[in-house]
Symmetry: C2
Subunit: 489 residues, 2 copies
Amino acid sequence: MYAIIMAGGSGTRFWPLSREKMPKQLLKIGGEDTLIRLTVARVLPLVRMEDIFIVANQSLADTISHQLSSKFPRSWDGNFILEPEAKNTAPALGLAALHLSQVDPESIMVVLAADHFIRKSADFLDLLRTAAKAAEGGYLVTLGIKPDRPETGYGYIKAGDACSEPDLSSIYKVQAFVEKPQRETAREYLKDGRYYWNSGIFVWKTGTLLSEIEKHIPPLHAGLMEIRKHIGTDREAEVVKEVFKSLDPISIDYAVMEKTDRAAVIPADIGWSDVGSWTALDDVSERNQAGNVVAGNVIDIGSSNSIVYAEKRLVATIGLNNMVVVDTPDATLVCSKDRAQDVKKIVDELKKRKAEEHLIHRTVYRPWGSYTVLEEGDRYKIKRIEVNPGAKLSHQMHHHRSEHWVVVAGTARVTNGDREYDVHPNESTYIPISTKHRLENLGKIPLQIIEVQNGEYLGEDDIVRFDDDYNRHATNTRRPLPQVNKEVV
Amino acid sequence: MYAIIMAGGSGTRFWPLSREKMPKQLLKIGGEDTLIRLTVARVLPLVRMEDIFIVANQSLADTISHQLSSKFPRSWDGNFILEPEAKNTAPALGLAALHLSQVDPESIMVVLAADHFIRKSADFLDLLRTAAKAAEGGYLVTLGIKPDRPETGYGYIKAGDACSEPDLSSIYKVQAFVEKPQRETAREYLKDGRYYWNSGIFVWKTGTLLSEIEKHIPPLHAGLMEIRKHIGTDREAEVVKEVFKSLDPISIDYAVMEKTDRAAVIPADIGWSDVGSWTALDDVSERNQAGNVVAGNVIDIGSSNSIVYAEKRLVATIGLNNMVVVDTPDATLVCSKDRAQDVKKIVDELKKRKAEEHLIHRTVYRPWGSYTVLEEGDRYKIKRIEVNPGAKLSHQMHHHRSEHWVVVAGTARVTNGDREYDVHPNESTYIPISTKHRLENLGKIPLQIIEVQNGEYLGEDDIVRFDDDYNRHATNTRRPLPQVNKEVV
């Protein structure tokens, strides 16, 4: 059994906590750990780590890989299936199926979202085991969540007759997929009992999916066959890119599930939430007596039914009702709960203004650690840089800025032009403009330095990389597809 | 005519914009300038700058003086009457009257609050001129604001008969001072037409006030006479301190105005607001079409009747109604308008927690310029320091920290142990622990440096001052009372 974790979320609805470069699957939302790490941990009783594949964009792969490695200590770099561009779920899942088919066309593919929350893990795994049996029999199984409210934000699946096969009596043939309903219709669905929320969690045989794609999305199938010809060659990444460019974006639900006669639904009562907006915290988090979900540095007087999330800075709230307040180092959101869906309009507005607050946080994660912008002024910028033990930044140079480094913790091995030396806490060094330099942490604790940049242009793109542990001196736009489980073949 | 500006406000109700060290009179609230500068500017057609005295605590005098100097270029250091401790208005006004009486017992004293807003300046000055005539005749005149709503937050003055003197027909003898009423009573007052809000703005002859104090507050009068004996001597500050310590706190309204038979009220329709809480912004600021008062880096979608104030960071608001949102670099307030009075409870809670967010801002003003704390970490602290042209910090030393300075704008003259040298933009220097040092800006533009402190203790009180342009190497707890207008005597 293989798990395909779809991690392409764009991070708009949890702004300002989520950003384009830090979407919600990478955040601890309502739980003790990030959603993607919870997702991986949840399936580990059923799936080996090397059989988990994450479908994501190159721009997120580093961050995801680092996040997974720090919890599950191994290299996750080989577990990625990289989408060259977002084309909705069908092309991404087709690509994943293609790769699994190289290993074993009879393999079972469990498709999960990286950013869902499931409270009842054991029940969920039981369902996956049952669904796998149905998948063996050729069904395309989707998990249908038993509705507990007349939700208008999800599509529904109408269950038909139970499957007649032995052991599959708890699985139903799909009678129809139904669009997001109006409130009144949603109430009827709830009463009817045969309607389930479409969770986007699927279980099928790799070969089944590929033949359904061949039947229902011929252009995608043709593209996949083209890619197959080049797997393992120098041109592989390029071909994937060309094929994706040529494809129309389309969802697997619309393109396959609604058309196939092999669709089945397994009813699921597993404490599921798609964590679709800030109000989902009410479902996935602990509320206090006044109905508030409060986290972080908050002083509240007399609020009710509200969500207040603070990071480091102080947030004081008085007499709120039905509100969401989210504070981050560079932006604060204050929103009526009824309008939580409109958060993406704020993100749209920020994009229009070419602001940065939708794109990145003040703290940006890199394969070697992280940096935090503390202040930007006229001709200067101040960063706190943290380098993981054993890690080093690229050998680099800037055309427009010089850098003052003050070490505040750990020891820095500095390459500065031709010289190499160590800088200790309470010592500083100076990297002149246009000088090749490198920063490395040979020690056992994180290295922290304060960097004061001076220059007429201080953009992150003023960097020439000469040598990089993370291959970022290359064009940086693609990464070879993983050679999945070659040892099995 | 002399103006006494009472500037003792504690800055709790406009938190987080106001702080103990930055109360609301020092802030631009709803206007183009700070309330205290607007207050000074307003009376300048009637009162010479050297005849304006500011009653304040020592801890605020530097900041006020600096703020006034930057708008009205002269030294304001001689314009302060320093309260050694807050004892409500009667002792402070007694002290002010004592000093004016040294100049001229017949002088007219106009008492103003530093933190009120008055829209109709010309009308206000006309009223002061009329009130001064009544004061000449021995009246203690108070400005009574014509109510436009049944306000329960103010005390009221009931006007009696008009004064019989020629030219004083627009002034009424006070029939009674009335405590803050209940809503129903306030409605009756509004309908009645003879009730006015007690503004706390007074006009009287210095000699009149002193003799009323003698009659109604004998211990205060005795204390003032004791102080008088020591004016101009070395012991003056000490005696003021001792006298204030012995006095009971009491307001001039309660102790004198309610008891004297010389109280008069002049009705005022001058667009007055005491700017008593965040909701006062609705009165003193421009509202947009949706009834919002919005300032700063704000993106709003569909809010109404709300106040949103952002400094530098981004604040996004969606669907708010009747709310106050105030963002500052270290704290954010989100408050229902109905609960704006409860902001002081947040300040109380912060005091209880021994937090700093009620006390100071991240930016702290000093006589020589300002500093902003950018980040505090384990054994390090980062500041941006701005030194005004021509200014210098004290010659100082720290027992527990060393300092790295990187100049980002201007030129720094640095004294470092025995050496003296200049540091230019993109240059740095290092001040070792326990080394006497000094920072000075000899240039014509503000000097900006980034300071990285390293040490096991980084409190502001780890400072030994050897020489200081601002006399802060002394005990720092008192300052001699100004020798008012000796040239006049």
